[in-house]
Symmetry: C3
Subunit: 377 residues, 3 copies
């Protein structure tokens, strides 16, 4: 922190309008988002163990069929799941066996090599106007980031920019963690409603009675000490968790050994967030991480997939009770989901053109600016 | 009745076209109707006992979320069910408890007084550009009429004009009656198809074998003596019900004491209708009333909710058999529902641009004129 | 065959583009096809025993309600299933009894004679502006063809042109055959995808392991000897079925007596196809025929109805095992259905604008030209 320029309050200096109400339910707006956001941005599709080496798996991103290929040596690649002949899907189901060499269409046996080049057109005998080299699989950009797999359907991917920065959770060494618990939930709300909920704590006092006990500043409706009135950089930064608590759990106590490479500040923080629109965030504690993916399934429906990541030795503890360990955060997630559905239910009022953001909702405002920049492109 | 100007026959002097066929199935037409009719007209939402004092209830009118508030003292009011902050629904389920003072949003604790004024924004600290007085709940007009509750989402409500007039059923004193039976039915037809069915009796001979026995003029396909050929005001007006019958029932006999304040003419009529587009009609007899609400649920689906209203002492009779009492009219309703679905099934024929109304369908013509006036607005 | 002009290879001399990808999923394209193809072409609706004499049956063609009338003497006729009064469907369910004279609307008793002329308007008394003679049922063209019933909703039907010609299966005398087995299957694909699958055999080696054993040229991905490289009309034409096989079955042996009027060439062919876009094809063998109808049920869903036709004496054989007889072709149909669904799943890739046809896909190309001519009309 540069002492010469103390951080300003993050609070907004005005109360801007929210996105227009129809952005949360209109099918046309949704279709444009699929094309302009989900088919252009880096989208997290899971952990690096999402599928076994030597398999192909299908999934849908931005409404488009994608095939994730994992070679027997573990290397990932991705293509649109579409044969260039007449458009058949090359991969039909998760975990389809693949030897890492040819990807062969089960319809007419067109075969592509691991780089997507068209190698064979089966029994067909194309004429000279057909240029094999121009009929390879459509490539999809793919990258690994700290144990997570991302794809990007754009020709030229945008900058890879998790917030506040790619090193935020470096000391958690996420690539070495294992998934101990998974929870999927389908919400009756637009995906942006969930991100808005994530981006403010004004709702914490009403929605999260247990959480505000463990994180006292949340009881004031704020996310960080900087938002408190009267705060200045000279003041001591109060510990965010309550006295004696070290993590988000029923008891405030860790469920196993703490991550060994954290700094003292990281341990004291109680929670550290890493956010990557539009598809994922991580909430890292001293003993576990929640990784939550946001998956739009329609204009007014969203699937959340939450994974709890642990050190292997944590899960190996005798008598380790995964339900007890995860119930605290699962409750928070359930409460947020209910709040999101409540929000969605009120949006179709004809006279409600848009909401108003409060100064505390600076992160929602940034999210809206992020959305607007892409939808206006 | 002015003897100098005898009533003319109500029959149409030509055979006009019906509404265009697509008015009964096109999603765009339906969406415009939601906005131009259902979100602008007075819409009946039930009896005055629809919800207990000290509760809030949500419902949808014209596709919009509405909240009906009933104070502990029994007074009704209504608002769009939308918080001005980010649009959350304030009321989530029927019968939500309310003390008659603040209506508090369960998301961020924005609180409104019983008049809809914004009183608190919870933990938020809005900047000066945010004018609380301009962020009250969106009011919805509400009125009581003879025991029924109506709302109107228009800024300026239209005239309150049940047909033939608000005093038609005054002597039944509906506000003192109680609901003894409810029947809901979902029909696979556009809501206007049901109103058209209601508005003519040409179908009675083919569709209602029991009813035409009790109401002999219906066997001729007409609704009232004035439609009969050769009718003139000088002729005696024939009793509409068959010899000895006093009400619509299997036996023609009343199910309990007759309503005490009816005139002789009202008793002799056998049935008296009060119609209020687009949402409700009442069919009043000497011993009970049917109140039928029409609730569009999609371009080709409609919910009907029928309530049978009685004097309290009628229901209190020992051995009172509600099924036997209501079965006659329930049969008529079922027959009409089947006819409506039959009508809907034929409408998508490409060469069928519109139907033709018969002179006897003068009330359908008036209904169509009512629709056209609003859709052309 | 004219020896002066030997048949050219049917192979395409270039690799044309397929239809645009959105033609297989876009709801607007589908709606236009309903109007421009299904409501204009001759559409096969089943065998001549599809309904009993003296009945009416409803069905939907091109999204429109149609009524098929079969008089007590067995004669067929067809109308739009729409009363000219207010559009009610005249026929509600399959096998509705009809005496061959009046067709009476069950709503208001409008009655039409067997030719569709409006005879009665029930209790209505239309004014002079209503011309009964202009309010007959909308006629639908209907014709029988070798035991099959077709309808056409166009004002002026197009030429009746099964391919390669109406006499192709004349010697099978299909009007005398009986349906021994029916199989309906709903596919998650556009109807054109099924026709494309039907129109090429490049997929046979990968998709139909049993079939290529019985039809050896299919193992090379070709449909007929003319496609083989080096083929010339001077060469002997090889028998399409494997040595000793006479029909499509598990054993290659017929399931009963062979059709008595086939030529030697027809017996030796092993299979003879008759194709009639958009709705039906027949695959005729020496001992049975499969008749397969294609019924679009949505942009991405299609129903197939397969009927197996036999000589009456074949079905009468003691111990005749219909499951065993039909299992071979039922397997082929299942395999084709799975391939079609696989094809559909890959089509929504944004960068996939259209596929490329191979020279062997000349029949698909002709199908696409057939489609384009109608969609551009």
């Amino acid at each position: 922190m540069n002492v010469a320029t103390p951080p300003k309050s993050p609070l907004l200096d005005h109360c801007p309008e929210s996105l227009p109400a129809h952005a949360y339910y209109d099918p046309d707006w949704y279709a444009r988002e699929q094309a302009l956001i989900w088919a252009r941005e880096w989208v997290c599709i899971g952990r690096h163990d999402r599928q076994a080496p030597g398999t192909l798996s299908p999934l849908t991103i931005g409404g488009q069929p994608v095939m994730i290929a994992r070679a027997p040596d573990g290397a990932y690649s991705a293509f649109l799941n579409t044969c260039r002949h007449r458009g058949a899907a090359l991969c039909q189901h998760e975990g389809q066996a693949w030897n890492g060499r040819l990807i062969t269409c089960p319809y007419h046996a067109w075969a592509y090599d691991a780089g997507g080049r068209l190698i064979s057109v089966g029994h067909a005998t194309p004429t000279e106007d057909f240029d094999k080299s121009r009929h390879g699989l459509f490539p999809v950009h793919l990258r690994l980031f700290q144990g997570a797999v991302y794809v990007c359907l754009a020709d030229t991917p945008p900058a890879f920019a998790p917030d506040p920065g790619p090193d935020t959770l470096k000391n958690w060494r996420m690539e070495d963690l294992v998934t101990g618990h998974v929870k999927e939930v389908d919400l009756a709300c637009n995906w942006k409603i969930f991100w808005e909920n994530y981006n403010e704590c004004l709702h914490c006092p009403t929605v999260h009675p247990q959480l505000i006990d463990v994180v006292p500043i949340y009881a004031k409706g704020i996310m960080s000490p900087e938002e408190a009135s009267g705060w200045s950089p000279e003041n001591a930064r109060p510990a965010p968790l309550k006295e004696g608590a070290r993590t988000w759990s029923d008891t405030g106590q860790p469920c196993g050994p703490e991550f060994p490479h954290l700094t003292e500040a990281e341990r004291a923080a109680g929670h550290t967030f890493l956010t990557h629109y539009p598809s994922v965030f991580w909430a890292a504690h001293v003993d576990y991480i929640r990784m939550i993916r946001v998956i739009p399934t329609g204009p007014e429906t969203t699937r959340l997939r939450a994974e709890w990541l642990f050190l292997p030795e944590t899960l190996a503890q005798p008598g380790f009770d995964i339900e007890a360990v995860t119930s605290f955060a699962a409750t928070v997630l359930r409460e947020d989901g209910e709040a999101c559905e409540m929000n969605q239910r009120g949006l179709r009022a004809g006279r409600f053109r848009a909401g108003r953001l409060m100064p505390q909702e600076f992160d929602i405002f940034r999210f809206h600016e992020w959305i607007r920049a892409r939808m206006d492109a």
